[in-house]
Assembly symmetry: C2
Homo-oligomer: 122 residues x 2
Amino acid sequence: MSNYRNETEQLAAAFSALGHPHRLALFRRLTSCCAPGTTWNASSRVCIADLTGMLDIAPSTLAHHLKVLRQAGLIASARRGKQVECWVDPNVLLNLSHFFLTPLSDATPIVDPAQGDHRHDH
Amino acid sequence: MSNYRNETEQLAAAFSALGHPHRLALFRRLTSCCAPGTTWNASSRVCIADLTGMLDIAPSTLAHHLKVLRQAGLIASARRGKQVECWVDPNVLLNLSHFFLTPLSDATPIVDPAQGDHRHDH
DNA sequence: TCGATAATTCGACATGTTTCGAATTATAGG
DNA sequence: CCTATAATTCGAAACATGTCGAATTATCGA
């Protein structure tokens, strides 16, 4: 599965994929129907054609962006008849949020603020 | 402050900044001393020279990457004598984690899984 | 099997990004 | 004021990305 040498490059690839306004918009659109405990119903399924309308880009460009998101592990897709459905695995959201929250929970012990030593009081 | 037309572009700029292995490594290094409730002490302060060593890139390249991170609002910096210190505002971490967690909390009500209607049973 | 619809792949071009070395600015200490 | 140190800016080269239209693949219905 993993073509990446290390975790940093894999993570960077994920952020890079989200680092384009079109792809970020696509990702956001897809996250609106992927919460854990919720079920897919007909109207919440998203196929490629649904996404084409929202961005005013050529179908080939859309396909390219979706490929980038897929290769970064951010979205999954499967054919359903003539159409292809896309979705986001909720675990992807949890993992990425974890990246930002981990440094906070790994914090060094709280020190008395009165103890001074403040940064950038220039 | 904001040079961006909308929120999506601002967020995309942040992810784009994190979407390069070198910048992601720098950001991670800086998040190790920015937890809320913790204080900076002399050894936890990070200046540019500290960062140069860890990446094997030219100083000008490092300066470029830090500028990208700064312009994306991910890090802050201030001169302290001859050196320049960098840090990450903990709120940045909270905001970004929020982006990934919001779709989960905004989920549509839980539906009985037995009700069927499963996706991509191709 | 043929045609229509949905999506992807390919090739090409324009635009951005990464990287460096050289030159420049800022600061501290003789 | 001069020098050394720390960092940034600038310009150029190499590389990567975004975009499109045209051609291709996949599926369904007649």
